[in-house]
Subunit: 329 residues, 4 copies
Amino acid sequence: MSSSLPEFGAGLWHFASYVDRYATDGYAPPVTTLEQIERAGSVGDLSYVDVPYPFTEGVTVEDVKAALEAQGLQAIGVTPEIYMRKYAKGAFTNPDAAVRADLLAFLDEAADVVRALGAKYLKVWPGQDGWDYPFQVSHAQQWELAVSGMRELAQANPDVKMVIEYKPREPRQKMFWDSAAKTALGIKAMGVDNVGVLLDFGHALFGGESPAAAAQLLIDHGLLWAMDVNDNLRGWDDDMVVGTVHPVEVFEFFYTLKVNNWQGVWQLDQFPFREDTVEAARLSIRFLKAIHRALDELDIDALRAAQERQDAMGAQKLVQDVLFSSMRS
Amino acid sequence: MSSSLPEFGAGLWHFASYVDRYATDGYAPPVTTLEQIERAGSVGDLSYVDVPYPFTEGVTVEDVKAALEAQGLQAIGVTPEIYMRKYAKGAFTNPDAAVRADLLAFLDEAADVVRALGAKYLKVWPGQDGWDYPFQVSHAQQWELAVSGMRELAQANPDVKMVIEYKPREPRQKMFWDSAAKTALGIKAMGVDNVGVLLDFGHALFGGESPAAAAQLLIDHGLLWAMDVNDNLRGWDDDMVVGTVHPVEVFEFFYTLKVNNWQGVWQLDQFPFREDTVEAARLSIRFLKAIHRALDELDIDALRAAQERQDAMGAQKLVQDVLFSSMRS
Amino acid sequence: MSSSLPEFGAGLWHFASYVDRYATDGYAPPVTTLEQIERAGSVGDLSYVDVPYPFTEGVTVEDVKAALEAQGLQAIGVTPEIYMRKYAKGAFTNPDAAVRADLLAFLDEAADVVRALGAKYLKVWPGQDGWDYPFQVSHAQQWELAVSGMRELAQANPDVKMVIEYKPREPRQKMFWDSAAKTALGIKAMGVDNVGVLLDFGHALFGGESPAAAAQLLIDHGLLWAMDVNDNLRGWDDDMVVGTVHPVEVFEFFYTLKVNNWQGVWQLDQFPFREDTVEAARLSIRFLKAIHRALDELDIDALRAAQERQDAMGAQKLVQDVLFSSMRS
Amino acid sequence: MSSSLPEFGAGLWHFASYVDRYATDGYAPPVTTLEQIERAGSVGDLSYVDVPYPFTEGVTVEDVKAALEAQGLQAIGVTPEIYMRKYAKGAFTNPDAAVRADLLAFLDEAADVVRALGAKYLKVWPGQDGWDYPFQVSHAQQWELAVSGMRELAQANPDVKMVIEYKPREPRQKMFWDSAAKTALGIKAMGVDNVGVLLDFGHALFGGESPAAAAQLLIDHGLLWAMDVNDNLRGWDDDMVVGTVHPVEVFEFFYTLKVNNWQGVWQLDQFPFREDTVEAARLSIRFLKAIHRALDELDIDALRAAQERQDAMGAQKLVQDVLFSSMRS
């Protein structure tokens, strides 16, 4: 008996073009917010997108709403770009109080976009919060600024849910919110109830976490409010297409969500630098559907029994049986 | 003006011999507990040792006390060997309830040794708690067993301070207590006040943490009760001699302790597989004394000012001035 | 149409018990050479084993021959244990000329065992050749000793084929023969024709190589004489059961062998510390048979065409179609 | 007695501004080629720069020559930008024959710039040559294209020396020229005498090589024609300021150059994203001068004797004595 499919989503940037420090002319011509939405719609299986803010020049919230509607898409979240030049030395932990004040004003504005789009959350990814060099920062002060800034934002917008996306590093050599446990610890210290976590599969993997264990930890603390998936070679946030490198750990991740009865959107956060972005999304969803099928067929009782005795071989056999037959025709 | 030197310590195993999965005949002939104490005494600068338990066969607590006294040493902690064959699938998280019961009985016994030796703490390093394969364990259950087991131990021995030493992995592919933040989160969940953390510099480095940031986090949570240092190549717990690879980050670590007015023993946790163990300890302490001297000379006010503006170049200049002149004659 | 199965093999140590630096009492009771052979036989699908030398005490070459025959096994190679205490500071690159002389005498003896068992090769894995600390060795001298020592061995035994197994590190912090390219470069410098390479999948993965690319490089240089597989988390030589973590790259590795028409034994080099060793081998071979089936079904012409245009998505789709249906019933 | 200082150099991009995939508006306003030269001149200790080509729009070779002369600088090399959008799927290994033809034409043009500027070499860094996904490329074909393309370029410009700069990865997930040994192997296969290697300290470190060992290997093969230094956290090519993280290995690297009597420019390849670029260069050279002083004072005979017995502790003591007093006043 097959269960109904989950809803799928993607960061809208999945359909953008990219630059890096070498190919400064970009891997492809620029793609506007509205074109990105069109591409997302053309994938065919997406219900949600996470929308970066600000939009490309001249695009209004109304334009975005209309474009989403035209494609049958909803905004799951809004991602304010708090990692541009202005925030090069940090967003919440920026050493300049004026920048921090501007940040909060800008985030209030982004919260309005969440409201306007009817999105589920404001996604906060302060990728420049952290440090590069030994001795560069006072770690005590970083904690203070990171936690109190987020608290202030949350308290100023009690009607808006917010998720922090942690990541070990990049673009900063070390990012402040770098693991599930540290983010949980920081959120507890905020003492607010509208801040949770977005777990990015690749960030967990790259940080040496088991993504499944990180998900369980966050679920047990009531904080796993959103997630996205992708893949990498474990040494960097490569944002490759999900399942192309680590299908077993992807499967364990979704297994963990299932046995905890986690309900939510299965999202993609990928950067297909050199690929057709729509094709990359389609391959991803094809794989996720296979994972979903494998979960339907997995003998969960037997697996639990194997886990009860830490029987790795027995567990793997059950897993392989369904994973390696999930695309049979 | 130079401040007084800290007290130095070492894990007694620093003076043992070692095996690994290849050199199963050992890198040197076995060394008894009492011989290890003698070697520790011969270093000349050590005041404390952390004593593994059980002792080598036939050695009693009284023997150990006498041997320590003879060398002018004190026991800082006792390290029960809860990572031998019996605990291959875990200590607190062992799937077998009988093993877990034996574990607690054994740890009570080890707590008695803490009392008998007048040591400061029982060191708990459950290196086999964790997992090897995807799907091998229920992560929810691991948390439950790890936290509740430790709580039970702490509550049964309220007069004994205990420290958990976290580590990303080895011997298990993934160790349950794997980071400063996760350990802090778990200890909070225990709801006891006699459990803290021992931060191993190399474990933090190898786990992708900044050891200085991890120390600050634990200090801010009132949990940095002990520490030890060593060095590695960042990819594994190599337990090399401190300062031979990453002197700058060692310096930042001790700087963090100093500005927080952390008082405690500067301990070594090294495995000099192929070296003369006494010589290795001496080289380590020579380096730590240079670090101490550099800290005395560091312009902390200027450094703080540089950190206030995240001026990495300015901070490094101040640091290099004193670090690279710390061994001048 | 399905092709005939390859022959399977395993390092005999797969069926041993293990110690590490923590569980010094061993993860299981000791297993003799003859018992290991019995266990290998009981797997049911193995045709070859690689035999460590010396055998456990009291066991003769004749005993081994008889035991292999009784189990229907052949020796593919002999692995001299040149990584025990005596060689702690190196085998070929040991600083002590007397140790190096003993080494060559011992390896001549091991070559005799190759002859006696009718094995295909002498496997040379000098895991202690290398260094631990910056400045510890003269790298010029290491090259000289490693290359000339191996040349001398090869020239003294021109009738015996030898394979060097490279590995990035462990037990030495850095191993001299650390990559496919360096080993190829060194073998060329030897100027002999009876030295090739054994590629260990996990060593390549852990060293940041693509195992498939490393295999191709060695094939193109006429040096891929043997291989073994396993799995790991990319950060260490975990010697886990093949396919449990990185099935896609395992598949690419065997694909590379197939399109090059490489003929040879599919061997296991795994250390099932906490598992039933026979069960671990069976799970491995079950997976390898699925890989073999997937290779039979892969549309290689279409894949080549995708590769011609670096069409990663197209290639992955073809690969997933067969890999994720390879265990369908 | 102090030896004379080496000449110092830097990649001109050290003085540029940068973008990455997040801060697409750049960490600072754009800096033209001529402004970069001016900044390089203002460092005060630089004699050489490595000049990217093409120059910023409107700048001619004559402009560059004049600007260099005005600052007392010389071009050590020319770095053609063969990693922009056009080469996203590779330069020499691009799947499109037309792109490969354009590449060679462009590189011939760059060779003319080498001639015009009287530079020592053409630097070839094909950072997009490689692959991203398992199964994406034929590794046999990559070797063929990479080696033959470089051979063709070298043969077409026999009067121009060329250096290949290897790197493990970035921007491609895996770069074809990824290690010292593989690059040496490939250059041998080219059969030309005007191609050597530029060793980047950080690339070696990040790739798991010992930079000192890699330098020795290349020297022994007559291929170490240029080098540059920087620093990183070993997991990525962070291009941080040299000596801020790994001073000991930097020291071993320069020690290796010295004992081999390597003569050449000590170059910087750093990306000071968030720092003042001139200040970053000055801090680097201050450190390199300290390294030079330490080398003058190092007891090389004693160190060689320690290395003869692999006496790591003895070697480190000699090293620390001079390294940690190299900035005494």
